[in-house]
Symmetry: C2
């Protein structure tokens, strides 16, 4: 039983995490249906011209533009319609002087034609089509390769594949793409008192919560959580688990709420790698530990569920996104007045879980160990270390979960 | 070839979609690891007391509070330490008068003890513990059931399961929960010119893009897209597909960019159900169609990829979220000045895909058929029907994809 050696400020802890977490380099081929929100690991180069053929942009008539030059609203030109081409078809003939062909939007423009007249500017009488507007060459035609030439880089390495960009990959006919792998994160619940969900509790046990909140945060932020079974807080057990750290991109231990348990973890990480910090000037979540085993970042999260959850958002989430190469999280933040006065802790940056009811902010936090501190919370507010009282009516920024 | 009978305003179309889409009623049991961002279909009632036993909130000594009442900073009380209880253990004995037991955070409080003195307020010499602070009964103990009593409703039907709430379900020892099913949405690519991704193109064909952008939007918004094979734009084919509409919660057809194809779809939906609107005063995406077959909403999306994409965000996304019971999408919107003048179309609400470069907004839109209209876009801006020119420097709101 000894206190934490030294607490470091929140910003320093964040910076140390950021400096020691590197974007993933591993790549994988992923089928089109699984590409959403993945990050391209290679430029996407088109293998085809888009459009792949001269294509009509309108329903109308394919013509030789020169044949329409004398047409006007009251002096139509008359052309002979020699056929029809629907989308997906190859035109049955060429267009000669004085001829035209009915054409659908998206259909292939017949040889000889160099423009399309919109149906609205025509009138058809049997196989004679009256053209009421002169069109220059190229009108209403998307030329082969006009949009994208074969060989062009269409999307670049590092781009996030939004629905639009998934569509772009489909447009090139590609059924897969090369993206960065999702970081594989081992989640290790620790603690002699922790029991697995779904099994009956023995006396003195509580259910494992933190694995599930942390897995959820990792899932939401581009990682693949891998669940380890519950590990006892003894050095040999932790060591045998952490020797496998380099099989993963990151390791997160949760549990170990007592000082003794934390010391064991610190000792084991020191032996296998190095501890970068242990103890942060925050509340709750002071005993958070961060280290490296080889190049694998290792988080030791506090055991109390509220502390573990807010630490998950504050430290683990940015690390996960940086490693997964995702852009910064778009936080949902709302500003509302406090419904009541709240006494904070001087000297520690506080994360207070809160609920927003009728536009006012109520503390949801009871104590770090309470589940209702998170069950009834919509998000959290941050109270800087130099504030001891947040008065009723003060506007605060709520970070929504 | 005929024009759309009548275009309705954007807001009316949105309202009609909203009125005809109902939140899903089907429920399913889902394991804990898959509950993230699902919607509870039943209240979650705790089957256990939390904490499940009187639990120490601190590292320290379990005592009878009355024995500490005379303790002070300079006048410690001395108690005899009769053992130690670690987290996960059952205390080996009761505490009698003048006795105490070393206890870890999270451990079970021994019988006879009614308070815990923090280790910081003690000094131990062999089996004698000096107590330097008087504590009232209950100090540093979380009483059995204090946080949640067995039988209490902890989460309510309709709540969104954020990481915090997934943790709450774990805290109760539940390995699954009852949530609303994700709406199953059939996506039907139509068009004689449309080819499946991954296969070579025949002359006059283009790849199916819209299925993939729409699937992505549905995936992101709580639905399960089910891909149908490509269907020819002929009445019998469409009819045989749409007769199965009631096997799905929603059907989305994409393709059919020419007026003739749209007419076929309108006719088939009229025969099997009813068309609610066909044609909206927007650009691009004017020929959007919406109807019902039985209670199943059916969207006919425009064939052009840009039109299909923006329509996907404007009409399909809110419908998907309402059906999936998800809260309104938290749109990411940024306000930036236009980098250049843009001429819009009077009388139609325009969705213009744009790119933001160095804090300025550039139109990405070339034409509805162009893939680069979406490949190089970050989002879109909306231009109201009564605006014909957006001047350089005008601040516009970019809706990011």
């Amino acid at each position: 039983m000894k206190p934490l050696a030294s607490l470091i400020p929140l910003d320093e802890a964040k910076k140390l995490v950021d400096e020691n977490v590197q974007p993933i380099k591993r790549k994988e081929h992923v089928p089109l249906s699984d590409l959403l929100f993945r990050i391209l690991a290679e430029d996407v180069v088109s293998g085809i011209d888009v459009p792949p053929y001269d294509r009509s942009a309108m329903d109308g008539y394919a013509v030789r533009a020169v044949d329409t030059f004398s047409a006007g609203k009251f002096e139509p030109v008359e052309l002979r319609c020699v056929g029809v081409v629907h989308a997906g078809e190859v035109p049955s003939k060429k267009i000669g002087p004085g001829e035209c062909m009915q054409i659908a939007t998206g259909a292939m423009v017949p040889e000889g034609a160099d423009a399309v007249v919109m149906v609205e500017n025509t009138e058809r009488i049997d196989d004679v089509v009256q053209i009421f507007r002169a069109v220059p060459p190229g009108s209403n035609i998307s030329k082969k390769g006009e949009d994208i030439r074969a060989g062009t880089v269409v999307l670049r390495k590092g781009e996030l594949l939004t629905p639009a960009k998934v569509g772009v990959i489909a447009a090139l006919g590609m059924s897969e793409a090369t993206v960065y792998a999702k970081p594989k994160v081992l989640i290790v619940p620790t603690g002699n008192e922790v029991a697995e969900v779904g099994k009956p509790l023995n006396p003195g046990q509580v259910y494992d919560i933190n694995s599930h909140t942390l897995s959820s945060i990792l899932l939401e932020n581009g990682c693949v959580p891998v669940a380890h079974s519950i590990v006892e807080d003894v050095a040999e057990e932790l060591k045998s688990v952490l020797k496998k750290a380099n099989d993963y991109d990151m390791v997160v231990l949760s549990g170990g709420s007592s000082a003794g348990e934390r010391d064991v973890l610190e000792q084991v990480i020191s032996e296998l790698g190095r501890v970068i910090f242990h103890g942060v000037q925050i509340k709750p979540g002071k005993p958070t530990l961060f280290g490296l085993i080889g190049n694998t970042p290792v988080f030791g999260m506090p055991g109390y569920p509220t502390a573990c959850l807010t630490n998950g958002y504050v430290f683990l989430l940015p690390a996960a996104r940086k490693m997964a190469r995702l852009p910064k999280r778009q936080e949902v933040i709302g500003t509302f007045p406090m419904a009541k006065k709240y006494a904070a802790t001087l000297g520690r940056h506080q994360f207070l879980t809160v609920r927003v009811i009728d536009g006012e902010v109520y503390p949801a936090f009871k104590e770090s160990g309470a589940i209702t501190s998170i069950a009834h919370a919509d998000g959290w507010i941050e109270i800087p270390p130099n504030v001891d009282i947040v008065e009723k009516g003060t506007n605060v920024e709520v970070h929504f979960f």
